[in-house]
Every structure is written in structure tokens, then in C-alpha cells.
């Protein structure tokens, strides 16, 4: 089988894994055993930690995540369009931009929603 790009990619990643994993094992073995409540407390610059750490922070930016998924898919189509742009007949080269323009409205809505922190 030819040494094509993906075989080399797998070989490279395997190499990195084989290089890093022993370091982690070494570090794990080097560590002290046993739990110590002071050493194992979460780091808060000396203060004792109070309350649950995993709370609802920054929920108002949730629309940004959804818009990222949408524009990720848009980017997939846009890159194929960009590659073929010079081969397209003139008028049809711009139809894909309609696709992009349509999605400006949800983006505006998402931006509007994320500026209102009280509803999240």
C-alpha cells in the first residue's frame, strides 16, 4: 500500500502518542500516594472553596455556539464554491452568496439574544 497522506498522519500521531504517554505514566508513578485534604483542595489562591463549581456561567452566549454550527456548515459549502469560482459561469457564481445572506438574519437574532442577559 502506498505511503499516502493518511498513513503518514496516523504514523505521526502514533509517534506523538508514544512520546507523550510514557511521560504521563512517569509523572503518575512519581506522584505521592494517598489523599491529603489540604493538598487536594481546588486551587483558589489560599481561600477555602465554597459552593458548587459547575454552575450556569455565561449562558447568554449559547446562541453563539449555535451560530458556530450553522456557519461551520456554511463554510463547508463556501469553500467548495470558492474553489470552483473561476470555473463558474458569471451569474451563477453569486447564487451561493444568497445562501450566505439568508443566514445573516438568524445571526442578527442570535446577537440580539445574547445581549439580553436576563432571559438566560
Amino acid at each position: 500500500m502506498a505511503l499516502d497522506s493518511w498513513t503518514l498522519f496516523v504514523v505521526f500521531e502514533l509517534l506523538i502518542f508514544l512520546g507523550i504517554f510514557p511521560l504521563l505514566v512517569f509523572g503518575w508513578l512519581m506522584g505521592a500516594k494517598g489523599r491529603d485534604p489540604i493538598r487536594d483542595a481546588p486551587f483558589e489562591s489560599g481561600q477555602t472553596h465554597l459552593g458548587e463549581a459547575r454552575q450556569r456561567y455565561m449562558m447568554q452566549y449559547y446562541p453563539y455556539l449555535i451560530m458556530f454550527v450553522v456557519f461551520d456548515v456554511v463554510a463547508m459549502f463556501l469553500f467548495t464554491w470558492g474553489l470552483a469560482f473561476t470555473a463558474l459561469p458569471f451569474a451563477q457564481g453569486f447564487l451561493l452568496l444568497v445562501f450566505l445572506v439568508i443566514l445573516v438574519a438568524p445571526l442578527g437574532y442570535a446577537l440580539y439574544l445574547s445581549s439580553k442577559t436576563e432571559i438566560w
Binding site: 500500500m1 505511503l3 499516502d4 497522506s5 493518511w6 498513513t7 503518514l8 498522519f9 504514523v11 505521526f12 500521531e13 509517534l15 506523538i16 502518542f17 512520546g19 507523550i20 504517554f21 511521560l23 504521563l24 512517569f26 509523572g27 503518575w28 512519581m30 506522584g31 505521592a32 489523599r35 485534604p37 493538598r39 487536594d40 483542595a41 481546588p42 486551587f43 483558589e44 489562591s45 472553596h49 463549581a53 459547575r54 456561567y57 455565561m58 452566549y61 453563539y64 455556539l65 458556530f68 456557519f71 461551520d72 463554510a75 463556501l78 469553500f79 470558492g82 474553489l83 470552483a84 469560482f85 473561476t86 470555473a87 457564481g93 450566505l100 442570535a110 446577537l111 445574547s114 445581549s115
Partner: protein
């Protein structure tokens, strides 16, 4: 579908392994531009950053480990290897270690497609640019997992901020590279460099370069987009609860990412390895890459930090609009027929 008779015999696997190991590509993978290249360059960049930041802040920086402190990264690495990996009781140690490992795998992945010279690339992928973008897009997932797995307020907030920041700036990054794809008609990074033989893409894609550089700063979580780390607020951000070897891996992964993103900027906008024949090609590439990294490091010492909501909004509004304007400019260039300069 056919019956699975095609399972290779053991000697076939062994012969393939031997063929891989004795090939020139494997040497490339190991030494340059692969494993040794990125680790040594990342270590060098840690030293460079500390020295440059120190000079910007009228200090001296690392001084004692070797001449000019050049062995400081090695000293740091050895120290970190022997420090204990303290995982808090509430944190998920296995998840954190798995994620630190994944961070390194993801950070090192782009080097497979980036050409350091003519033909000096590990795997000349036809979709090289998209491959690099896909590798970079995996960072938010891992960082979110590290932030959550640490089960502590500072890392969690840092992880969330990093997630939103990187996610908001990835789209302008991709759109600003689209202009180059349109001008060359290829996603192959070697062809993109070769297309810059007449004029670098810095010239027609000035807007794209500005947007791309800004988004790379945001992807690297560098000042002025430093809030996920925010040293005065969040200790070390999402890396707070990593210590010892796990911290070394995460820290090194961040600097490998810096190195490879600078290399990507060089390939896309600064003509890659092209230059007057005074120096060999890879040396030109390294010179340009370290120049870009130095600019990124100097920016760290020179700018204040942007607030998180302004940061995210700017990524989605201004940068996206500028990237789209860049695409518009590129369309005009192509329609006017000026793209012959970049079609080899």
C-alpha cells in the same frame, strides 16, 4: 461489501512498517519538519517569549540557565517532569490526563500538511488547508473538557470563556482564508505557496491578512484576547488544575500551536519558503515564522485585554464583516481578471 478476506498477514504489516521506518518521510516525520522540529521550536519560543516580554517590560528575563538563559526551557521541562501531578479530589484525573494528551495530539497535527520547503512536507494533502482548520477546530472541545473536569470555579470559567472565544473567532478565520482559496483554486498548501512566486498574498489580501492575524491571536488565547487566562483574574485559566507533567504537556501544546499557526500565516500570506536564493528555502521559512511569532509575542507586552462580551461581539460582527468584505474584494479582483499573477 465483500467478505473480509483481505486481512493482511503479519509479514505484510511488518514489511510495511519497515518500509515506513526506513523511508525518507519517516526521517522527515521524526526530525524536520516533524517531531523534533516542533518540540524544539516550541521550547525555543517559550524562551523567546520570556526574553522579549522581559525587554518590553524593561527586565532581563531568563539569565542563568546557559548563555542568555537559552537552556531555561530544558530546565523548566526537567523540573516539571519531577513535580507531582496534583489532581484535586473533586477533579477527574483520568479525564484531565486524557485531555492533556489529546491537546498535544491536536496541537501537533497541523505540521503534517504544512510545507517547510519545496517538497519538504510530511504529507502533501490536497485538502491541506481544510485539514489544518479541522485540527484547530478540535481545541474548544478539549479545553471545555479540561475546564469541566477540573471541577473548580477558575478553570471552569476559563474553559467556558476559551470555548466561546475560539468558537467565535474560527468563522472569521476560515472566511478570511477563503480569498486565497479563490485566487489559487486549490486547498493544497504547497500550491498556495507556489502561487505566491510573483507577489505574496499579503498584497491583494491585506484585509484578509488583518482578519486572519487577529483571529489567530484569538485562537492562541494571546493578549489582547487573553481573558480565558487572565492571569490576574483566573490564575491560569483552564490550565489551573493541571500540574507537573500534565501542565508541561498543555503548556508545550500551546506553544506548538503558536509555532504552527505562525507557520500557517507564513504559508498563506508571506510566501512560505520563497525568497532570494541567499538562504536555503527552509531557512527562509523559519525566519519568517519566527518573525511572525515575535510580533505575536511583542503584541502580548503591548496591549490591554479585551472584555469578554465585547470580544465575542467583535468576532461575530466586525471581523466577520471584514472577512466578507475581503471575499468581495477578491471577487472583484477575479472579475477584473487580475488574478493571473497568482495562477502558476
Amino acid at each position: 461489501m465483500r467478505r473480509l478476506q483481505g486481512l493482511p498477514a503479519l509479514d505484510e504489516i511488518v514489511s510495511l512498517a519497515v518500509r515506513i521506518i526506513t523511508s525518507r518521510t519517516f526521517l522527515e516525520i521524526l526530525v524536520f519538519p516533524g517531531f523534533l522540529n516542533i518540540t524544539l521550536s516550541a521550547a525555543f519560543l517559550t524562551w523567546l517569549e520570556r526574553k522579549v516580554i522581559a525587554r518590553v517590560q524593561l527586565r532581563i528575563g531568563p539569565l542563568y540557565a546557559g548563555m542568555w538563559g537559552i537552556l531555561q526551557p530544558i530546565a523548566d521541562g526537567v523540573k516539571l517532569m519531577f513535580k507531582e501531578m496534583i489532581f484535586p479530589e473533586l477533579a477527574d484525573a483520568r479525564l484531565l490526563m486524557l485531555c492533556a494528551l489529546s491537546l498535544m495530539l491536536i496541537a501537533a497535527a497541523p505540521v503534517v500538511a504544512i510545507p517547510f520547503g519545496d517538497g519538504l512536507v510530511i504529507a502533501n494533502m490536497e485538502i491541506g488547508l481544510i485539514y489544518v482548520f479541522a485540527a484547530v477546530s478540535l481545541f474548544p472541545t478539549v479545553i471545555l473538557l479540561i475546564g469541566w473536569g477540573s471541577n473548580s470555579k477558575y478553570p471552569f470559567i476559563g474553559g467556558l470563556r476559551s470555548l466561546f472565544q475560539q468558537v467565535s473567532y474560527e468563522i472569521p478565520m476560515w472566511f478570511s482564508a477563503l480569498g486565497i482559496v479563490m485566487l489559487t483554486g486549490s486547498l493544497n498548501l504547497t500550491e498556495i505557496v507556489k502561487a505566491q512566486q510573483n507577489i505574496w498574498f499579503l498584497v491583494p489580501q491585506v484585509l484578509g491578512f488583518a482578519v486572519f492575524f487577529t483571529t489567530v491571536l484569538a485562537e492562541l488565547e494571546r493578549i489582547p484576547f487573553d481573558l480565558p487566562e487572565a492571569e490576574t483574574e483566573l490564575v491560569m485559566g483552564w490550565m489551573t488544575e493541571l500540574s507537573g507533567v500534565a501542565f508541561m504537556i498543555g503548556f508545550l501544546a500551546m506553544y506548538i500551536k503558536l509555532y504552527l499557526m505562525s507557520a500557517l500565516i507564513t504559508v498563506l500570506f508571506l510566501g512560505g519558503w520563497l525568497g532570494p536564493p541567499l538562504l536555503p528555502d527552509p531557512v527562509w521559512f523559519l525566519v519568517k515564522t519566527f518573525l511572525v511569532s515575535s510580533v505575536i509575542v511583542i503584541i502580548r507586552g503591548s496591549f490591554p485585554r479585551v472584555r469578554i462580551d465585547l470580544l465575542l461581539k467583535a468576532g461575530w460582527t466586525r471581523l466577520l464583516l471584514l472577512a466578507l468584505a475581503n471575499i468581495f474584494v477578491t471577487v472583484i479582483l477575479i472579475v477584473l481578471g487580475l488574478d493571473w499573477m497568482w495562477r502558476v
